[in-house]
Amino acid sequence: MSRALGSKPESARRRWPLATAATAAAASLLLAACGSASESGHGPTGTGGTGGTSVTAWIVTTGPSPANTVINQAVSAFEASHPGDHITVDYIENQSYKQKIQLAMGAGNPPTIFWTWGGGPLKQYIDAGDVQSLGNPGWAASFLPSSLGAVTFNGQLYGVPIEGTQPVYFFYNKTIFRKAGLTFPATWAGLLSAVQTLKSHGYAPISLAEGDQWPGLMYLEYLTDRIGGPSAFSAIQSGKPGAWSSPAVIQALTDIQQLVRAGAFQKGYDSLKFSGGGSDALVYSGRAAIQLMGDWDISQMLGLNKSFVTAGSLGMAPFPGVPGGQGNPSDLTGNTASYVSIASHATAKQKSVAEAFLQDALATTSYAKSSVSAGEVPVIKGASGFFSGQQLASYDQTIYSSVESAPSFQYSWDQALNPSEATTMLTNLAQVFELSQSPQKFASTMNSQQGAS
């Protein structure tokens, strides 16, 4: 994620992969068709010298950003130190990427290096034999361990972080909290009573963009962790029969509905979308006090209402703990990082160039340092000293420390599960938020979906 350093608002910042469905299927089909025709990955286009190897990389972007510059610099430096080898980076728009890569994989014609958010979709490619294993390399130890879970399967590494970590926090309007005489609560019960106080002061307590469906999932992810610990979801992920109706999940869903019944969310929460900036506007305009969001919200807020962020009005707090629950209140959920993987379809030479790039260019402290200058929070070990002087240093520092010290960092469920189970989960969870589905009904629907693909 690239915090826009005073650049244009990156309103399409949202990188919630599953939710980033393409705007037009037909258009991206066309894109994919054109793309794969010209980027077969085998051609000698741009071969630098004799015996050189050309490699294509597909990188997701939401528009020209400092993050792209960092990647370009890494590529140039790599090419300089590996004469003859050439990496062509194609930046692909966030929304259309998922279908484009799916079609390219299906056609057996992907780029050598491809962008991934890890988890269920990457697992699908691995199962289909499309992804090159990186084995168990020693250099992987330079990353924070929690950051590689999304790309590690059967003890093998399948990807390397290329862009920063995106954990989820509560963001809140400090001015509203001051007026209501509140500090951000550290427990779930405290949050419920803060909701009442905020309501009595005439604010919508929490801004929720449930029209996009993934924002509500963040509540379920955190509550399940706080109540049942990380094992509650790992049982679901490993397909343990009936895992969806574990007491932790049922309690989390019940707590969500309690929040809804308490009137915690603004009017129309079930149709508001994050991408339009409406849920942020509620917070910075002083109508709603709180929003649970990935850390990309900081850069989006900065783009939408710069003074709100620079004046220090945007508070950030971890998800409250649930006393008596088994989860550690320092546990995180969100996108652990964005990654690149290597397609097995590439030639042996291309693969070795790609592996060298991943190891020599991306898995390095110098790459992490330059990504910090682009506003990212890298997942490399020992980066806490990198942030001073950055515009959002205090946020970045907090984020890095919390990732560094988190006992568990669960990557987003909609990415962890296979796409079929994930979409069913999102739609049914939205109904839980509308109170039109009971926790038990949700659990039984999801139990029956297990293993569907």
Binding site: A21, G211, S271, L272, N418, P419, S420, E434, S453
Partner: protein, 293 residues
């Protein structure tokens, strides 16, 4: 059939076969496979079809589709007819109105959807603003988030988009009715209402058939406004079959099951179109104006 006929038919048949029959057939074949878009499809027999028969989401989306089709027709036809007859007159002020009525035709569907989404936003939207300034409480609704309301809002926005087109159809239809019919009826002592029921409506029969067929088949496969405004929500309340198909294929990676939905949609579309043509006598198109002109 002569050789020349065959040669003449070839381009049309080739295009039809390549872009309509072949994909349809491919979808039908694919509906018997399990395939997530990667690797080789696996033979699944009738499993996808059995899944369809037991899928509550598919059943819901069929009902939603039927509602959208029926409501779209019921809302758009009378309004288009009324506006079409109104703008068929040659008075200048009517021409000015007509220019305003066709404005939605100039906007792209995505633009229309985003505009209405912004207008209907319960916090910052235009309607919410109106409700504050004019004290009209009923405008303060959760238009797209209320499960009892969202479908009707969608039908209304679809109508807003397509009524101008059908208005044009009716305007042209009305203008083609020979004036002598009205003169004759008036001489026979027909009132304004009788002119409408006895002359205008019967003469517009084929316009109604054309317009209705376009409306019904169009609504059956309707996608974009719903995709942008509600994405099928809240819950499954606005998830039409076309959207269900799209999500099965491109979000759930179930291309086999999505093909079942595609086949169902295709058969429904062709079937309804054939029925409409048959029952409206559209295919025969015999003139009803013998001796009139």
């Amino acid at each position: 059939m002569r050789l020349a006929d065959l040669i003449g038919l070839t381009p049309a048949l080739t295009l039809f076969g390549l872009f309509i029959l072949l994909p349809l057939l491919a979808a039908f074949v694919l509906s018997f496979f399990r395939w997530n878009g990667l690797g080789t499809p696996h033979w699944a027999g009738g499993a996808n079809w059995v899944q369809f028969a037991h899928d509550p989401v598919a059943a819901t989306s069929l009902v939603v589709t039927a509602k959208v089709v029926a409501l779209s027709w019921a809302v758009q036809t009378p309004l288009s007819l009324a506006l079409g007859l109104f703008t068929a007159g040659h008075q200048r002020y009517r021409a000015v109105y007509a220019a305003f009525y066709v404005l939605p035709l100039l906007l792209s569907t995505a633009g229309i959807a985003l505009m209405w989404e912004a207008l209907l936003d319960p916090n910052f939207g235009g309607l919410a603003g109106l409700s504050h300034s004019l004290n009209l409480g009923f405008l303060q609704q959760n238009w797209l988030g209320n499960a009892n309301l969202a479908l009707y809002v969608i039908v209304a926005v679809i109508a807003w988009q397509f009524i101008p087109f059908h208005t044009l159809l009716y305007q042209m239809g009305r203008r083609q009715i020979p004036g002598v019919l009205y003169e004759a009826a008036t001489l026979d002592g027909a009132s304004g209402w009788q002119l409408f029921w006895r002359v205008t409506l019967p003469q517009l029969r084929y316009t109604i058939a054309t317009s209705s067929t376009l409306m019904v088949v169009g609504a059956l496969t309707y996608f974009d406004i719903i995709y942008i405004m509600t994405d099928g929500g809240p819950g499954y309340t606005t998830r039409m079959l076309s959207l269900d198909m799209y999500q099965s294929a491109f979000q759930q990676d179930q291309f086999g099951y999505a093909s079942v939905l595609a086949v169902v949609l295709g058969v429904l579309g062709v079937g309804i179109a054939l029925l409409l043509i048959r029952f409206t006598g559209f295919a025969s198109m015999e003139s009803q104006q013998e001796g009139a002109a």
